[in-house]
């Protein structure tokens, strides 16, 4: 079997593991609530379940639903859980260190399995990329297929790096989904069987510039995931009647913690992205005789950069922090995606390499 085939095999195996990790995180998410409900740990102050149906019957089915939901939530936010979350929050800024707690709270085991599977999937993907690189005799990010593989690696890599310092298991669901989707797109739409590069890529800047962009992309993705969750948590905190948001919010850290995580991630990426753009300009100067030519790829890199600069500014501008800044962050991520996929697939320019 050739190294390329080994690489493919590793990638498929990695996809399977990401899928399982996703399922585990999903189970964990669901279990966090159902276990709490099953245990029926109703806090002392909560309305007596029996008391509610009388009211509900008098009103409407929706209201009954809402009441039931409220009860479930009251239980989900049982004192034990609250205490455990508070303890976590005290232990660390982002939600607590991943110490092997003796008594696993609901959903913890599934989340831990999800984490292990994510490690495994990421390891397999790394092996796949290494095999690919050995086969091609160069850095394994020379075409869209390889960028996508590397990006999936970067997404989980950034996530796992976080997980070494903080408990970010609650982020696993979104991160494993993002990695899986990226790999799926790579394998199904972008597969490329050539080890060779187009001439413009024969440069050590390929290693530097593209690696920086890919790592930045991984962190952008994690930052965007945290931002989305922040928005949900924030909504839940502002609008108690928002059922979905509240249900999700019960399983993730509070909005302030999420906001901080999102900010730190984006603040970490911004210099890296700046570097990637500048390295690209230096490379373009060598390859095309101008460091900036408003090629669609360059233009969207610039737009992405501007929007994230706007995000950082917004966080220092009264009336723009919090939700508005978060939305700007998500717009920034959308620009990044347009730059990464959209421009390669739909625009023609110097950056549209052969073989997509």
């Amino acid at each position: 079997m050739s190294l390329a085939q080994w690489s493919n095999l590793f990638v498929y195996a990695s996809m399977a593991m990401y899928a399982l990790a996703f399922v585990s995180f999903a189970v964990s998410f669901a279990a966090t609530r159902s276990l709490a409900v099953d245990e029926g740990a109703v806090p002392p102050g909560a309305p007596e379940p029996a008391a509610v149906p009388a009211v509900a019957g008098a009103v409407s089915p929706q209201a009954a639903d809402a009441a039931a939901e409220a009860r479930a939530l009251a239980r989900a936010r049982s004192p034990q859980l609250e205490a455990e979350m508070a303890a976590q929050a005290r232990r660390s800024r982002w939600g607590g260190r991943s110490d092997g707690a003796a008594a696993l709270p609901p959903g913890r085991r599934a989340a831990n399995i999800g984490m292990s599977l994510t490690w495994l999937a990421t390891g397999l993907l790394l092996a796949g990329l290494v095999a690919r690189g050995l086969w091609a005799g160069r850095a394994p990010w020379g075409n869209m297929y390889e960028y996508s593989l590397s990006s999936a690696l970067a997404i989980s890599g950034v996530f796992l790096a976080f997980s070494l310092r903080r408990d970010v298991r609650w982020l696993g669901l979104l991160v494993s989904a993002a990695s899986l989707i990226t790999l799926g797109v790579a394998v199904l739409l972008l597969y490329n069987d050539s080890p060779q590069l187009v001439p413009a890529l024969h440069s050590y800047w390929l290693v530097i510039h593209v690696a920086a962009a890919i790592i930045a992309g991984g962190a952008f993705t994690v930052g965007a995931a945290a931002t989305v969750l922040y928005l949900v948590a924030d909504r839940a905190e502002r609008r108690p009647e928002a059922r979905f948001s509240r249900a999700v919010a019960a399983r993730i850290p509070d909005s302030a913690t999420l906001d901080t995580l999102a900010y730190r991630t984006n603040a970490f990426v911004f210099p890296l992205w700046t570097f990637a753009v500048i390295a690209g300009a230096v490379w373009a100067e060598d390859a095309w005789g101008r460091y900036w030519g408003w090629d669609p790829k360059e233009t969207w890199a610039f737009i992405t950069w501007l929007v994230y600069a706007g995000y950082l500014h917004a966080r220092a501008t009264a009336g723009w922090r919090g939700r508005k800044a978060a939305v700007i962050g998500l717009i920034g991520f959308a620009s990044f995606l347009i730059n990464f996929f959209g421009v390669n697939l739909f625009a023609s320019g110097l950056h549209s390499y052969a073989g997509v």
Partner: protein, 642 residues
């Protein structure tokens, strides 16, 4: 100890204009509320903004917010761009009041504007107000957004700067819309007045922002750190302990200085007792300013390139030469003030060109390498040198760089007319039309007897199918030249400029069609002459550019990254240490509310010192807590569990 309300008004009195300025020219001053806000303009840059933001993030300040009785906090509605400042959060917040007051001067040294703006504004007042609006964070934010938005059409619509032909096609395809868009510069977005207006405003705003901030930061760096607040016990990582070691304070100074804290001794310093203030992290604001200044440098670099630089493109056939004068270029774009008379006097000949393509798999036909062998002289009379130019390896000459940007085929044709005279014997540039290098070209020989015009398709790897002749692979595996010969008035003498790549066949008589391989000759019909396809050669196109601003742009870029990293990763924080003698010969009565004074100390006849250490961070409290704990451990205090 001052009551919160007193302190608030005291602070208001030293910044009478700021609260009012925040809300615009006619807003009533907020004096009398407990809100002190920094108004837009210069002072909104940096410190206060971050303080507000990070005050929010910091556990301490968050606790502060939560602890604040409803209604007693700062009104966000009145918040200026920079928002709540730490001191605004502090009063009811459980932060020691001294510390709260101290944090007010984090931004100390910033320019205090006294405008005395009331409801009525003169022209100067309005100007000032306008300037303040322009240089506010909110405006910067909006302009950043506008610029991003304005760049989008430049990526969606074809642009004249990069692809004029696509622009022409686009406009032709949608006449009404195309013309309208063209009128408003949508095909030249990046030089359009509205695009330029946005970034110029942004940069004016930036400069207006940064200059006052630099002055303020300069002053802040030279100002001593404010002395220790009376009570340190509610600061981050606050630790109090007793010791009989008179060297604690000195040890603290040494430990702090070793870690490059800037230590300001307190006025109360007296041998082993007294206080000190230490501060670290000025690099954060320095980095922020460096970053913004670097952006200006980049802009200047770009502008220098656009004004004094030039770039041209030229197609060179194998074996042909080029000398760097204006007339030799196929296209030339000088900067607004570029001197085109004094182009660097280099010359080169492309002696050989080679291209390889992928032969296997799904990427078949993709280019794999291009290289041009160049024999060049940097200036007339200099010895000839050789260099292989590839896509990422330009030829660097004094004052210009020669980049390989494209290539194609140039068949060598020999045309003999009816009289037997050779009217053409040279290579002809054919322009590729697709990825497999199906190329087209023309040859015009108006002086031939009879005048001859040829249009031809060249296929490096030729096949003929329903669509006619075309190439299926870009390498010259099986070259075919498919010629159509015409005779008649080629119209070259009537002064109408004609395209060398097109032959207007209207009014011409077609002599015939033929397919030729290299080395083959075609006897033209009617004895009009012969055409020999001698050989297949190549051409390469080069961009030659001179950009005097790129060094500056690069320097600016590097500075920008350095500045960003400092600005985003450095944290500014303070630590205070106070040592008091609480028992023994030299003791002074412990100050009021000495919560932790232990009786064992009082019983000891030797001097007992009470040491207090606490920190204040503009970022999260935990950051400075660790450092406070390290310091405490270094000077012999109680070691806490992390």
């Amino acid at each position: 100890m001052t009551a919160p309300s007193d302190r608030a008004s005291a602070r208001l009195s030293d910044a009478p204009d700021r609260a009012g300025a925040a809300a615009g020219p006619t807003a009533p001053s907020h004096a009398g509320t407990s809100v002190v806000q920094d108004g837009g303009a210069g002072s909104s840059f940096g410190l206060e903004g971050r303080e507000g933001r990070e005050g929010r993030e910091g556990g301490e300040a968050r606790a502060a917010r939560e602890a604040r009785p409803a209604g007693a906090g700062p009104s966000t509605a009145a918040a200026a761009d920079t928002g709540e400042r730490l001191e605004d959060l502090a009063p009811d917040a459980g932060l020691p009041e001294d510390a709260a007051a101290l944090s007010a001067d984090w931004g100390a040294g910033r320019r205090r504007r006294t405008t005395g703006m009331g409801p009525r504004l003169g022209p100067v007042g309005w100007l000032r107000w306008g300037w303040r609006q322009l240089t506010s964070m909110r405006t910067a934010l909006v302009l950043l957004f506008l610029l991003a938005l304005a760049a989008i059409p430049g990526s969606v619509l074809p642009q004249r700067g990069t692809d004029p032909i696509a622009v022409a096609d686009w406009i032709e395809g949608r006449p009404g819309l195309g013309a309208t868009l063209d009128r408003y510069g949508f095909f030249d977005v990046f030089v359009a007045p509205w695009f330029s207006a946005i970034y110029l405003l942004l940069f004016v705003s930036l400069i207006g922002c940064v200059l006052p901030r630099i002055a303020a930061h300069w002053r802040a760096m030279r100002q001593p750190t404010p002395p220790a607040p009376r009570r340190l016990d509610r600061l981050a990582g606050a630790t109090t302990w007793h010791t009989d070691d008179p060297g604690t304070l000195a040890a603290a100074v040494a430990a702090l200085q070793e870690r490059r804290w800037r230590v300001t001794p307190g006025r109360d310093l007296d041998g082993p007792v007294g206080s000190l203030a230490a501060e670290k992290g000025f690099a954060r604001e320095t980095g922020n300013l460096l970053f913004h200044v670097a952006l200006v440098l980049i802009l200047i670099g770009v502008a220098l390139g656009a004004i004094f630089g030039w770039r041209g493109t030229v197609i060179v056939r194998e074996g042909q030469g080029f000398s760097n004068t204006l007339t030799q270029y196929d296209s030339f774009a000088p900067g607004r003030m570029a001197s085109t008379e004094a182009l660097p006097p280099f010359a080169f000949t492309m002696t050989d060109f080679d291209a390889t393509f992928e032969r296997e798999g799904s990427q078949r036909g993709a280019p794999r390498s291009f290289s041009a062998v160049m024999a060049y002289t940097p200036e007339p009379g200099a010895p000839l040198e050789t260099k292989v130019v590839t896509v990422n390896q330009p030829l660097r000459l004094d004052g210009a760089k020669v980049f390989l940007v494209g290539h194609g085929y140039a068949p060598h044709l020999r045309l003999t007319d009816a009289t037997g005279r050779v009217v053409f014997d040279d290579t002809v540039v054919f322009l590729p039309q697709d990825g497999s290098f199906t190329s087209t070209g023309v040859l015009k020989a108006p002086d031939a007897q009879p005048p001859l015009g040829l249009t031809a398709i060249l296929a490096p790897t030729a096949i003929i199918d329903q669509g006619g002749p075309r190439s299926v692979f870009p390498a010259p595996d099986n070259p075919g030249l498919f010629v159509s010969a015409f005779t008649g008035d080629l119209g070259l003498d009537d002064g109408v400029p004609s395209n060398v790549f097109q032959l207007d066949t209207e009014g011409l008589e077609q002599l015939g069609l033929e397919g030729l391989g290299p080395g083959q000759t075609w006897e033209l019909p009617d004895g009009a002459g012969t055409l020999e396809f001698v050989d297949l050669e190549r051409w390469a196109s080069f961009t030659i550019s001179h950009d005097p601003g790129k060094g500056l742009a690069l320097a600016g870029s590097i500075a920008a990254i350095l500045g960003l990293m400092l600005s985003l990763f450095v944290k500014r924080r303070r630590i205070w240490v106070r040592v008091e003698a609480v028992a023994g010969p030299g003791s002074t009565p412990a100050s009021g509310g000495s919560a932790g004074a232990d009786s064992a100390a009082a019983a000891d006849p030797a001097t007992v010192y009470r040491v207090q250490v606490g920190g204040l961070s503009r970022t999260e409290a935990a950051d400075v807590v660790g450092e406070v704990q390290q310091l405490v451990a270094r000077v012999g205090g109680p070691v806490k569990e992390a």
